[in-house]
């Protein structure tokens, strides 16, 4: 049944997309000097879809994620948000100024190293962009901030500085900070990699809740259990390319490419 094999390898969005594509990357490439960090990546993420991106370090996962919220300008390809062309590297078109900040507000980002603002309390971390980017009145921003901190289980930490919170708490504050802008898409860049396994669990729990609430998410992760149960689709990247993608059960149980098999063996045999 060679046809079935071909079909299986070529239908990344099948069974995953719940709606129209929210974000779409076409032929995305990033070149740092002589190094190709990302090569010809095509990916669609439908509204409400959860995509887990797995693969070896240095394989382009983070670079890809950073292209989606325009932290890294691609050197090739295009990015669409709602079918609207927002970046066209081939035509040297990049959003700047207000358009750039307005686009970024629609996309929340959670970093591996949290990157909380150390001079602000947890609550202030969550309200800063609401007040200065969204122009929400302070009282409204604070109310929303407290609500989000409660949602990630951190009401008691509202007035503490990040330094006085555990790593898991810090990452949950970071999630609340990203959610405060009511983003349509959440990007997670190895959100648990800097955490002890026990602290990682509290972060993953919050992420599972977001999945249940229907948030559209792209998650770069090494947490295979999370990818297996929470994602609609897994994308395996290595050497700057998408090697294969598909439903979690297929990618994890019957990977088609040697590169994927090798990676999964190494990860799952720990």
């Amino acid at each position: 049944m060679p046809a079935a094999v071909v079909r299986a390898g070529n239908e990344p969005a099948q069974g995953g997309a719940k709606g129209a594509p929210l974000v779409r990357a076409e032929g995305l490439g990033v070149r740092f000097g002589e190094l190709d960090a990302l090569i010809d990546v095509d990916l669609e993420v439908g509204a409400g879809e959860v995509v887990a991106v797995i693969g070896p370090s240095g394989g382009g996962k983070s670079t890809f994620l950073r292209c989606l919220n325009l932290l890294e300008p691609p050197t090739a390809g295009r990015v669409y948000l709602d079918d609207e062309l927002i970046v066209d590297a081939d035509a040297q078109q990049f959003p700047i100024g207000r358009r750039l900040t307005a686009l970024r507000r629609q996309v929340g980002m959670v970093f591996q190293s949290f990157n909380l603002f150390p001079h602000l309390t947890a609550l202030e971390n969550v309200t800063l962009a609401q007040i200065h980017a969204l122009k929400r009145p302070e009282a409204e921003a604070a109310a929303r901030g407290r609500e989000l901190l409660a949602r990630v289980g951190l009401s008691p930490q509202a007035d503490k500085r990040p330094m006085h919170c555990s790593g898991g708490q810090q990452q949950r504050i970071a999630i609340a900070r990203a959610l405060a802008l009511d983003p349509r898409l959440m990007l997670f860049d190895e959100p648990t990699s800097a955490l002890d396994p026990e602290l990682g669990i509290e972060v993953l729990d919050v992420m599972r809740e977001l999945v249940r609430d229907g948030m559209t998410m792209v998650v770069v992760t090494h947490e295979m259990a999370f990818a297996a149960e929470a994602a609609n689709r897994i994308v395996f990247m290595a050497d700057g390319r998408v090697v294969e993608s598909g439903p979690p059960e297929r990618i994890l149980r019957e990977p088609q490419h040697v590169r994927t098999k090798r990676f999964l063996e190494a990860v799952l045999q720990r």
Partner: protein, 217 residues
């Protein structure tokens, strides 16, 4: 007031000029240093080189030469500045060069992830510097900036050579009017100390307070 010798009273008259030179030069320089530091970090090569050129030129020539240039040099092309104006402008231009480098070091001390996180939540550059990068950079900036301010207080004495009647300038004049040189310059020294010691104390207090606020300490 009979206990206070006359030369002390006359020296104290110069304190306001010393303060105008120091505070004025520092304040103007501190503002001018902002665009300089921004240019130094700019992605434009031309701006970067221009900023480096300015900083190195201002730091590479003795301050007294700049004061002479502004006061005597400009007069030759019919731009006549008062000695006090020339003094303040000269010190401000020099302060801008030094402070720009101090700002740059402060900005570099803020981790890159802070910039990315601020961008990711949709803040524009001005707000990023005002609310995220600036408040963190200032902790690194305050101690060297305070040290520079104290240095500037002492450098303000150079303005005596273009005729500003600040403390040192007055001390020089008084010695020429047959007052006792040892006593006069000792008094002048004490005046400078009385100005710089509180300044240093305040700077130390501010530095500690700021680092405590950032919970780095």
């Amino acid at each position: 007031m009979s206990e206070v010798p006359e030369y002390v009273v006359r020296l104290l008259d110069g304190v306001r000029f010393t303060l105008i030179l120091t505070v004025g030069g520092f304040a103007i320089g501190a503002v001018l240093a902002l665009p300089l530091a921004a240019a130094r970090r700019s992605s434009s090569r031309v701006l970067r080189l221009a900023a480096i050129g300015y900083v190195e030129t201002l730091r590479g020539v003795p301050p007294i030469a700049w004061l002479f240039l502004l006061y005597f040099g400009l007069a030759q092309v019919d731009i006549r500045l008062s000695s006090l104006t020339a003094g303040v402008i000269g010190l401000a231009l020099i302060a801008a060069a030094y402070l720009a480098e101090i700002y740059r070091a402060g900005l570099r001390a803020v981790p890159h992830g802070q910039l990315e996180a601020a961008r990711a939540v949709g803040l524009g550059s001005v707000r990023i510097y005002r609310h995220v990068i600036g408040p963190q950079a200032i902790v690194t900036v305050v101690p060297p900036a305070a040290a520079f301010l104290i240095g500037l207080l002492k450098d303000s004495a150079l303005a005596s050579l273009i005729g500003v009647p600040e403390v040192t300038g007055l001390a020089l004049r008084l010695t020429q009017q047959e007052f006792d040189g040892l006593a006069i310059f000792t008094a002048a020294g004490i005046i400078y100390l009385a100005l710089s010691v509180p300044l240093a104390t305040f700077a130390r207090w501010l530095g500690t307070r700021l680092s405590a606020r950032l919970a780095f300490g």
